[in-house]
């Protein structure tokens, strides 16, 4: 079981949330080249370690937030940042 820290609801079982994957800033669709856009759509860093990622609190507050998790140990760090799926850091 993975307890995911929702900024609004506190720790919740991961089965209550939906995983949104790596948090990358979305390029501006009006100016991005096709290559930049497809890289944003498909390419991932997929590190074995700290990763900033998005979660959707589906059975709780129904908001997106981003948080840092270690994909090798499943620890979380830093206070989670509220924000929508598109606005993630990095």
């Amino acid at each position: 079981m993975l307890l995911v820290p929702c900024p609004n609801c506190g720790p919740r079982n991961s089965t209550d949330l939906r995983y949104g994957g790596e948090s990358h800033a979305r390029p501006d669709p009006n100016t991005a080249s096709p290559a930049e856009w497809r890289a944003y759509l498909y390419l991932r860093d997929n590190p074995a370690g700290w990763l900033r990622e998005n979660w959707y609190c589906a059975s709780g507050c129904r908001r997106w937030f981003s948080v840092e998790r270690n994909t090798a140990t499943n620890e979380f760090r830093d206070p989670p940042l509220p924000g929508d799926k598109r606005g993630g850091a990095a």
Binding site: P34, A39, L43, R44, D45, N46, T71, N74
Partner: protein, 436 residues
């Protein structure tokens, strides 16, 4: 085996009933199956990952292209990744014409494998049923059946009565919450003994001169001329690899590391459309044979087959979030048990003996990423997700050809990394997300 005579090495001992009896009576033991070699400073090609894909690639490099100065490096032991953890299902009833042609070649290579490698891989073509519990999934089954038939693959949609005949233990009544409405039936599908495939390729490759190095971890890939730091990245080329046992120079590096594929590709400055997710599986205590085919239910997120020993082997979909840890979860066994009982109420008293998990390299379209990359000499055979075991023979054959000739064989053109730049995805989700 073509390579044997040509390379003039001693033939490996034949595995046969007579040899078993002879050695048993005289108290002899079997010789070690592959050598332990010193790591050389240079090779014609280095394969990273000693799973079934890396070993098949090395085997075909030697057998079909005479490239025997090849090292397979694994950070742990051969078969320690997905190759030793999968549920061993082999089939070719995919959804796209590209997928069907590719996996069908693999089924044919599996059919010849026991003879070719002189090892009993126990390929049991017992038939494969993909159940449909809704109109939508029945429609996908019809679609798959038609694509399969066009590709010459034995596959058809059958109704509940015929399903009951094939598999009497399935509840085909209208009592369950999601009654079974039909199934895609694929008679040549089945299971193979996965460890035997790993050992068979390793032994045959070793015999032709390929070196297998276990406990040899690649920590960096050496490049020059690329557009990134240290000469890595697009436009450059590979010059070697760095390992925990020293540097090796080589013009060809093949990434066959499945769940770890992104980590290796990053070392060459190549980004992949891959995220790593664990896939869990479980096995019950053994009982008498009652389940003749492999049964998959996409809607219920579960699949099951019975081993020759009588155990039921179960699997499901990958864990929902990216993860490099292979710890099992209670959610998995709970969900599994509930869904299996919907299908087969009769197994409610059986006990689960073990559960385990392995890392899967998931792509957005559920198709692999194969072939050359923007870094010359750096090839990938990755994106195997939850379906790569069945693909090992054909992947080894095709990637070996790509590496040895510098071309892209027709059978894997559609799976190139560049398809993501071009937006030409090969969508196999409907055929690969639960039934592996």
């Amino acid at each position: 085996m073509r390579g044997n005579g040509r390379l003039g090495r001693k033939r490996p001992p034949k595995y046969s009933a007579a040899a078993l009896a002879w050695k048993g009576l005289r108290g002899q033991s079997w010789p070690r199956v592959w050598r332990d070699c010193d790591l050389k400073r240079s090779y014609d090609a280095v394969v990273i990952g000693g799973g079934v894909h890396g070993l098949a690639t090395a085997y075909y490099l030697a057998r079909n292209h005479g490239m025997t100065d090849v090292a397979v490096l694994d950070k742990a032991y051969l078969g320690s990744g997905g190759s030793g953890r999968n549920t061993a299902i082999v089939r070719s009833n995919y959804l796209t014409p590209e997928g069907v042609a590719f996996y069908d070649r693999s089924v044919h290579l599996y059919e010849q494998m026991a003879v070719e490698l002189n090892i009993n891989v126990m390929f049991s073509q017992r038939g494969h049923l993909t159940l449909a519990h809704s109109d939508a999934s029945l429609r996908t089954m019809h679609w798959r059946a038609e694509v399969n038939k066009l590709g010459g693959v034995n596959s058809s949609v059958i109704g509940p009565d015929e399903i009951k005949k094939e598999c009497p233990s399935l509840d085909t009544s209208d009592h369950p919450r999601y009654p079974i409405q039909g199934a895609l039936y694929h008679p040549p599908g089945g299971v193979v003994r996965h460890d035997a495939v790993v050992w068979g390729y390793a032994r045959a490759a070793d015999h032709m001169g390929v070196e297998m190095h276990q406990k040899t971890e690649v920590t960096d890939i050496l490049c020059e001329g690329g557009d990134g730091p240290d000469g890595k990245g697009a436009g450059g080329r590979v010059t070697g690899v760095r390992t925990n046992r020293g540097d090796i120079s080589t013009p060809i590096v093949i990434n066959c590391t499945a769940g770890w594929a992104s980590l290796i590709s990053t070392m060459a400055g190549v980004r992949l459309p891959i995220t790593t997710h664990p896939l869990q599986a479980a096995v019950t205590e053994p009982v008498k044979m009652f389940l003749p085919t492999v049964v998959v239910s996409g809607s219920l997120h579960v699949y099951v087959s019975q081993t020759d020993r009588g155990e039921l082997v179960f699997g499901a979909s990958v864990d929902p979030y990216a993860n490099y840890s292979v710890r099992g979860s209670l959610e998995f066994t709970e969900g599994l048990a509930g869904h299996v009982l919907e299908l087969m109420p009769g197994v409610s008293r059986m006990r689960i003996l073990r559960q385990w998990s392995g890392l899967c390299d998931m792509t957005p379209d559920y198709s692999p990423v194969m072939g050359h990359t923007p870094v010359e000499g750096f090839l990938v055979d990755v994106g195997w997700g939850t379906y790569g075991f069945k693909a090992a023979p054909v992947s080894g054959e095709q990637i070996a050809e790509a590496a040895a000739t510098g071309t892209t064989p027709k059978l894997i053109e559609a799976f190139a990394l560049s398809r993501f730049d071009d937006g030409e995805l090969v969508g196999e989700k409907g055929a690969a997300s639960v039934g592996h």
